[in-house]
């Protein structure tokens, strides 16, 4: 039995009368490759926001390595090792690729509050950022402005920023969304090469990606966990198929 890195207990989030996430008990093992799937509006992104502390939960707890972090703010959780990417790029578009990654590296290294030397003088941090870009095959674009890159490579930068935080838990929100199919393999390759010790939770619609990547899958429907298991179990689960074809009585979960 592997160690549990991230855990939620009875996690819920209401928006007024709407229950977006309802009583989720979820465990993410250390070094896990875990996918979170489900139809639109199932509450996947809300769940990520609860894990990262963007939103406070209405009920329930979030535990990281057994420690209750429910009331820890977003920045604090990052320091504890939870990093994420966004479904739609959130990059520093006016800056170069290297600068984008450097900002993250510097922040992680605790040097971002320093005022009295040029950022360029921290050769160690820049070297680290360059090394990361090299592993993501972005080194050639390091000096380019992010906004000048094709979208697929911008998605890689999105990933690079998260990895630069050296997380223990990495939450990927549709990492290949918006990327032309011809380019999507570069993202997938990058994800596959992620360091093994990182626990990865990926939200993804592309089942090819999910089945290729995930060792475990959680299906969310209407804010609750609908099913969980290995890819084989999920694939074999007729109810999951129903959900995806829209033929399961979704109303049951509203009741």
């Amino acid at each position: 039995m592997t160690e549990v890195r991230l855990e939620t207990q009875g996690l819920s989030r209401h928006f007024g009368a709407l229950v977006a996430v309802q009583g989720i008990d979820f465990k993410l093992a250390a070094g896990a490759r875990h996918a979170l799937i489900g139809p639109n509006g199932a509450g996947k992104t809300t769940f990520i926001n609860l894990l990262t502390g963007v939103l406070p939960p209405t009920h329930g707890r979030v535990l990281l390595g057994g420690r209750d972090i429910t009331s820890t703010a977003q920045a604090g959780r990052v320091k504890l090792g939870i990093a994420r990417t966004f479904q739609i790029n959130r990059l520093f578009r006016g800056l170069s690729v290297l600068e984008n990654v450097c900002i993250a590296v510097t922040e992680r290294a605790g040097a971002a509050g320093s005022m009295f030397y040029p950022a360029g003088r921290r050769g160690d941090l820049i070297a680290e950022a360059m090394e990361l870009l090299r592993t993501l095959k972005l080194a050639d674009a390091a000096r380019h402005r992010v906004s000048e890159l094709p979208y697929g490579r911008q998605r890689l930068v999105e990933l690079a920023i998260a990895i630069a935080l050296k997380p223990e838990v990495l939450l990927l929100d549709e990492p290949a969304a918006g990327v032309p199919s011809a380019e999507s393999h570069i993202i997938l390759d990058a994800i596959e090469r992620l360091p093994e010790h990182i626990a990865v939770l990926i939200i993804e619609h592309d089942m090819d990606v999910v089945f290729r990547f995930a060792k475990r899958i959680t299906v969310m429907v209407s804010g609750a966990v609908f099913a969980e298991g290995t890819p084989r179990e999920i694939e074999a689960n007729p109810q999951v198929r129903e959900v995806y074809l829209g033929q399961a009585a979704q109303g049951a979960f509203h009741g």
Binding site: T52, V54, Q74, A75, G76, R77, V78, K79, A83, R84, F86, R90, L91, F92, R93, G94, L95, S96, L98, E99, C102, I103, A104, T106, E107, R108, A111, A112, G113, S114, M115, F116, Y117, P118, A119, G120, R121, R122, I126, I161, A162, A164, L165
Partner: protein, 321 residues
């Protein structure tokens, strides 16, 4: 990443500043005004251009600095110019820190209105305390001690003042320059470019903003203190919307978020205003207004933005051949 390295043309403003001193000894009063405005705009750039804090109340700090220097001098408590500026920075910074804690939760128009109202409050307070601040009539003929105990501030030819202001601007500029290229400055740029990403990489965004706002306020305080010293005068107008709006316009005109936007904007705005007003004292605002409208319509991000666009276009055209 090597942006922080000095380039040859960065010496130009300072050379120009010194040439101005020798070439136009009769314009040094105007020169002082220009230097003070550049410094004030630079302080605003730190908040607005780098951290994206949109404020219409920056004169609050300018005025705080000016009154610190002015009141200490007027009551003969402290007249030494260099330490006077440090005290101005301290007081303005403290006000920036306190108001920043309260205000920097908000954004957009709300923040704009709140900064404006804080400034108006200070202005009203200074008016109500006219017995001490001199109110609208101000504190006249401030005694400013000679610089280093040697160089007097002449009232007629502002030569000492000019060089002093130039030196202060230079020191402050170096400070700002180091700051914006520092890791801290980079994280401010990050906040401006994408605040939610900064949260997501674990940056203490609000703390950074407050620190930045405080530094910016302190620099504005230095600018205000410098105005009080170079003109030997301070009155309520240092806290007015007029000054806050002018510096905002100066910065947008020059181009915000760029170290030299404050320089370009202040030089062009003030020079145009000054010389149009000499030629056509009753309606010079027409020319100034037309320029602002034209720049707003045809340039994105001010004159420096326009220059960059043109330069890139030129490069692109040259590139393929």
């Amino acid at each position: 990443m090597r942006r922080h390295r000095l380039r040859w043309w960065e010496a130009l403003p300072w050379i120009a500043g010194i040439v101005f001193y020798f070439a136009f000894p009769d314009y040094l009063g105007f020169g002082c005004e220009l230097l003070v405005t550049i410094l004030f705009a630079l302080s605003l750039d730190l908040a607005l251009g780098y951290a994206g804090i949109i404020t219409l109340g920056h004169a609050a700090f300018f005025g705080a600095g000016a009154y610190t220097v002015g009141m200490l001098a007027s009551y003969n408590i402290w007249t030494e110019p260099i330490t006077g500026l440090l005290l101005a920075a301290l007081v303005a910074g403290a006000i920036g820190f306190l108001s920043g804690i309260v205000l920097l939760r908000t954004r957009g128009l709300t923040l704009l209105m709140l900064t404006l109202c804080i400034m108006a409050l200070l202005e009203q307070a200074a008016n109500m305390g006219a017995a001490y601040t001199g109110g609208f009539d101000g504190l006249p003929s401030l005694p400013i001690a000679p610089l280093f105990g040697v160089f007097d501030f002449s009232a007629l030819y502002a030569d000492t003042q000019y060089l002093f202001a130039l030196a202060v601007l230079f020191v402050c500029f170096l400070f700002v320059r180091i700051l914006v290229y520092s890791p801290f400055g980079q994280s401010l740029t990050g906040i401006r470019e994408n605040v939610s990403r900064m949260h997501a990489i674990g940056s203490p965004v609000r703390r950074r903003l407050i620190v930045c706002y405080t530094i910016s306020a302190a620099l504005a305080g230095v600018a205000g203190g410098l105005l009080a010293q170079t003109t030997a005068y301070v009155n309520l107008a240092v806290l007015g919307l007029d000054r806050a709006a002018t510096v905002l316009i100066v910065l947008i005109l020059g181009g915000y978020g760029r170290l030299y936007g404050a320089f370009i904007g202040a030089v062009i705005y003030l020079a145009l205003e000054h010389f149009l007003a000499q030629v056509y004292p009753t309606a010079w605002q027409l020319g100034l207004g037309l320029m602002l409208v034209v720049i707003a319509l045809f340039a994105r991000n001010g004159i420096l933005g326009l220059a960059e666009t043109l330069w890139r276009r030129y490069e692109n055209r040259r590139g393929p051949s």
